[in-house]
Symmetry: C2
Subunit: 239 residues, 2 copies
Amino acid sequence: MSDLSRVKALLFDVFGSVVDWRGSLIRDLTDYGRKIGVAADWALLVDEWRANYQPSMEQVRAGKRPWTKLDDLHRETLDMLIARLKIEGLDEAARRHVNLGWHRLDPWPDAVAGLTRLKRKYVIGTLSNGNLGLLAAMAKRAGLPWDVILSAELVRAYKPQPQSYLGAAELLSMAPDEVMLCAAHNGDLAAARKCGLRTAFWPRPTEYGPRQTPRDLAADSDWDVVAADMVDLAARLGC
Amino acid sequence: MSDLSRVKALLFDVFGSVVDWRGSLIRDLTDYGRKIGVAADWALLVDEWRANYQPSMEQVRAGKRPWTKLDDLHRETLDMLIARLKIEGLDEAARRHVNLGWHRLDPWPDAVAGLTRLKRKYVIGTLSNGNLGLLAAMAKRAGLPWDVILSAELVRAYKPQPQSYLGAAELLSMAPDEVMLCAAHNGDLAAARKCGLRTAFWPRPTEYGPRQTPRDLAADSDWDVVAADMVDLAARLGC
């Protein structure tokens, strides 16, 4: 393990790394569909929704549209998919509720325990493409004990754009190497490392369910810390 | 008390309202001066430092200089005052330490207890002219249990500029009347109310020590809640 004595803040990727977006949304929407009497292949909706995540942000990154919050990108994709998958019976209030499913994601079983330990020694925060309101609502419901909620929204640059990482360090008044990005995604870590941040990885092998590809099943570089999960991350950082 | 059923988030002014900047800094700097053998009228330094708070932000508000973090405004004022008050023996490291005194402020005795109760029912956060790094460091040290740390820095508009209040609500994805500004300063509340936020007041009659003027000793308008302190605020909001 590298010398990490300068690290003061741990910033976490959230979707997939800290919370199980796929399992949570499928459970949540299946229950909701039953309650309001709407039949749909909710797992397919969720998978297609997430499949459009990067393309929707890419429009913003490429400057083809002005800054747009993730909640709004999610809503546009949802409306498009409801039409394409021919899901009937979702009025405006129902669509709004479904879209806020991204605020109701459950943490992976080790997440709260790991964060609680890490918080004793480090400033812990988010660094997510989720908008601040989404992340705050999620944290409140899930009991994620963040010291600070940082979002791509605050610097108007979606990860993996360099300004998302550099702007987060700047908001904390810290040098890049005083901040460690913690994520289950090698690509996120590679972009953070290029900006001078420290890096920690653990795998989430069931993040994508049956669609999981070999991607991100293991560390593909010599990240500063490679852990089994977030509790193990705490142990490896001496918390 | 008005109908406050729409309120979801309580955003707190920090300096003076939640933490005792004057008492904390005088204690901290007196101890530090003794430790490093530097003699000064620390109470005078602190009072003059704060007296330059509004004028220094006014340069930014008026567009006479680009956005500047409060930590940096504080440092400029400190250097000016060290020269004017002829304080000898503070090298660069000592000046940096003194300037970070604003990160080491102690809460008023009722603050943590009040926030802990309010947090059960509301999203609680800061809305301060302090920069995010300052507020995060202060919260960590003082045990202030914020759900979210919002700062004028995030919208680059110092209070009482309207965008500071409106931008905070927008970051939370809330309407202005879903947010209540909570402060011991009537002027801050008046500006927030003009933007449509709800308002709560309690007095901090010793904030300025012997320099306290009649200002802010009591509510000077019909704020939505007027409390004795932050524990009383929790009681009045049913927490």
